[in-house]
Amino acid sequence: MSSRPAPTASTTTADDASDRLGLVMRGVSLRHGNAAETVQALDNVDLTVRPGELAAVVGPSGAGKSSLLAVAGGLARPDQGTVTVAGQDMTVPSRRTRTELRRQHVGFVFQSGNLLPALTAADQVRLPLRLGSRSQRSGRDPLELLADVGMADKSDRRPHQLSGGERQRVGIARALVTEPSVLLVDEPTAALDRARSHEIVRLLAHEARQRSVAVVMVTHDHDVLQYCDTVYEMVDGKLATSS
């Protein structure tokens, strides 16, 4: 079954030049498992997220939301279909090439921040700039970025010295430091109270628009969907526009 295209202004044809700067997925399918037991994680998924757009994907656990992010970010190769980020093919066979494309064009925000325990907030944000070769170490000023997400005064703190919301703010700064075209956000409010959840998603929406980043946010939290431009629902690997 094919997914329905979202009836919003953000959904256009893949040939639109502006789409190529964001995320475009066409006919993407992914199966997990072996010959004896197979799970259809993604089933012929079409998705277009343009720069500056915040798209939410909701759905029950095991529906394929994480698989969608994995394929969109080049962490996994789909069995069929195409994925482009900023016009770059994220389904190339070479893992090294996909890693490099991810480093250059994709930012990830994980559940609870997924910060590294040994690093201060400033170092967490510096880290993505150190993952490439010296010639590739361009991006935003980490301290300036921390200030933008309201963490300037806690730049020397380590993850265990930060609250859940603060960890997510640092995670967002870390994802934005390389000036990516696409931000893939995985359950950013999973461990936050209502007020913090709204704060974080508002921040994501603001950053998406201000920096023209295409944002895909996977979430269970229907409370924060008001900040999103588009909402998709995923069930059994199929993606559809949410009512």
Partner: protein, 376 residues
């Protein structure tokens, strides 16, 4: 380095404990190295100090006891002196004796019988060189054992009396026994069991332990050709160490212990970094998802292992050297040799890295997609 150094600083207690284990192994390695060098020096320094390139022993002699079993006829000396590339060849006698001074001090001596006018006659740090028929030149370590200049020692059961006339410049020991250089004629009498005042049997006057051969500078000697001509069996100077009593057994034992220590070091480092790698899997997944290449992650992990190993080995070697300095001169055969200790230190770091490398290689299989969802 970016992450490696910060993690070392952050988990400093954990890394310090691991470093302490490696440092203790390094201390043990320095002590073993000191013992090894000390035992070698105690076993064969008398041979090491000889200006000899090879010894020609009796044909088919048992190699590990050649010095005590070999009997060579003096005619072989001339044959060897005529060989191409040989600068000099001279008779060499060797035997171990128990002696007692007139003051009642019992001293064991390894007698090196040499012709006083030959190149084997040792320079002295005090007293006179070999010359008089009953004069001996002893190792300075014999003075530590109770001998004094001018002492007369009597060989047990034989009654031959020898006078200490000189002391060599450096430690000369053979099979852990102090060396005493003795004129060849006196050695032949002692070796043949000829009591003082008794005529030396003619056969004894032509027998020596081996022919000491010195190659001309920059020349090599065809030992096989020389052996064929002289009817002997040659060992190079280094090979002849194995003929010193207990040398092979001691060095093999110590090398075995050192080998085990290297293996233990690699295993300890490997086990620690294996656990560390397993604990870090979620973080590695995040790093890979953020765009870290496999090479970056491996380099970072190995840098961390190298910094830890190098620092721990440096501290261990430092402590070992301090302990070694206390032991040196205490009577234990112990000598600090920087080349040996440096090699041991480098060996520990390299093998530790091999162990760590084998352990951290598993992080290359971490799936970055596990950073997503509730996997952490």
């Amino acid at each position: 380095m970016f992450l490696a150094i910060r993690e070392l600083n952050f988990a400093r207690l954990r890394f310090a404990l691991m470093g302490a284990v490696i440092a203790l192994i390094a201390v043990l390695m320095v002590m073993l190295s000191g013992l090894s060098v000390g035992l070698v020096r105690d076993g064969v320094s008398g041979l090491q100090n000889l200006p000899v390139t090879s010894f020609a022993f009796a044909q088919d002699v048992q190699r590990d006891s050649a010095f005590s079993r070999s009997v060579v006829d003096m005619t072989a000396v001339d044959e060897w002196a005529d060989q191409p590339g040989v600068a000099d060849a001279t008779p060499f006698g060797n035997t171990l004796v128990n002696t007692r001074t007139d003051r009642g001090t019992e001293v064991d001596l390894a007698l090196f019988g040499v012709q006083p006018d030959s190149f084997l006659s040792p320079p002295v740090s005090q007293g006179d060189r070999l010359g008089t028929e009953d004069g001996i030149v002893v190792s300075p370590t014999a003075l530590d054992a109770g001998l004094q200049m001018g002492d007369v020692v009597t060989i047990d059961r034989l009654g031959t009396r020898l006078r200490v006339v000189g002391v060599t410049e450096q430690q000369d020991t053979f099979g852990h026994v102090d060396v005493a250089y003795v004129p060849l004629a006196a050695w032949q009498a002692i070796k043949s069991g000829t009591a003082p005042g008794t005529a030396l049997p003619q056969r004894a006057a032509t027998e020596i332990t081996a022919v000491a051969v010195r190659a001309a500078d920059g020349k090599s000697v065809d030992l096989a050709a020389g052996d064929t001509a002289a009817g002997t069996e040659s060992l190079t100077l280094k090979e002849s160490y194995g003929a010193s009593p207990g040398y092979t057994a001691e060095t093999t034992t110590l090398q075995l212990i050192q080998g085990f220590l290297y293996a233990i070091s690699a295993l300890v480092a490997g086990a620690f970094f294996a656990v560390w790698a397993i604990q870090r899997k979620p973080e590695v997944a995040v790093l890979r998802a953020l765009g870290a290449s496999t090479g970056w992650v491996l380099r970072d992990a190995l840098t961390q292992a190298f910094v830890l190993l190098a620092a721990a080995v440096a501290i261990g070697v430092g402590v070992g050297l301090a302990l070694g300095a206390l032991i040196t001169g205490s009577g234990i055969p112990f000598a600090l040799s920087m080349p040996s200790i440096s090699a041991a230190g480098v060996g520990l770091v390299v093998l530790g890295l091999v162990g760590a490398g084998a352990a951290v290689i598993r992080i290359t299989s971490v799936d970055p997609a596990t950073a997503l969802g509730g996997n952490r």
